[in-house]
Symmetry: C2
Subunit: 150 residues, 2 copies
Amino acid sequence: MKTNKDYSENLKQSGLKITKQRVAILDILDKSKQPIAAEEVYENLKSNNISINLSTVYRTLELLTSKNLVLKVSIDGNSKSLFETNNMMHKHYLICTECKKILDIYYCPLENYEKELEQETHFKISGHRLDIYGLCPQCQKKINGGKNNI
Amino acid sequence: MKTNKDYSENLKQSGLKITKQRVAILDILDKSKQPIAAEEVYENLKSNNISINLSTVYRTLELLTSKNLVLKVSIDGNSKSLFETNNMMHKHYLICTECKKILDIYYCPLENYEKELEQETHFKISGHRLDIYGLCPQCQKKINGGKNNI
DNA sequence: ATGCAAATGCAAATTATTTGCATTTATTAT
DNA sequence: ATAATAAATGCAAATAATTTGCATTTGCAT
């Protein structure tokens, strides 16, 4: 019985008008356990009988990303950009190469490394992106189910 | 006076026919200090008076990537895929957010971390992707040249 | 040299995303 | 509440990157 967050406040604070489309999009993203593509947002809204245009979805996602209410994520091997609500936590992704499920990892192994790298390279490091790939436990079972391990 | 590597052998070993287009593409990639887009490969070939079709470039890059002779790289904020010769070394990218230059980093700070993560998540980790963003020394100067530092 | 599968060129298709413009809607001042 | 207005939306068409179908050409084994 998860109560919806109220996104009106977030929109207002970012100086954006509160429209049913924007609230609905933030709602869909918040309900999704994973980053999803613009088209998925759109289909999702349509099946909830919320009338919206795909270009509005794109425009809104781009806008919300620019206001940091939403994160735009691009995963290797996926030609579409994915979107998720921004909970303002630095994180990384653990991606199953088989079922494409994406898990969030909130521990960051790179904080000290960034400082070292700044000294070595004289870059002013502003951020990084770390995606880790592997097989999730379920997919390992599916694939190695036939006892054909090494 | 850099002598071209002979890519014919690489192609042959991968069971591919040796064509002037393929050799030329590998050559362009090898000459480039950075990953480049399919279209850049194409333009580069044309200015060298090597006749080729853009779709052949795409097909070839995809093929060479599948044979691991070439690496396909996608960088955040760049809508095009980039390609570079695969020197079979594990590496990461340090990307200047201003001039978009890409530096290779051959040290990997994640080897132990992957093992820890396997134990925690029960994923079978197969790889990762790490891109680090920042301002290169030159762009720092350009931007902070007016003494407007903190 | 010949034959044939594989590679290429060309045009057209596809996919993801963006844009221009007319219409509608949310907010602000009345 | 109402009107004014700037911003948001819908719709269709445009664009960018990449892919595909098919006819022609080419590399290579015989």
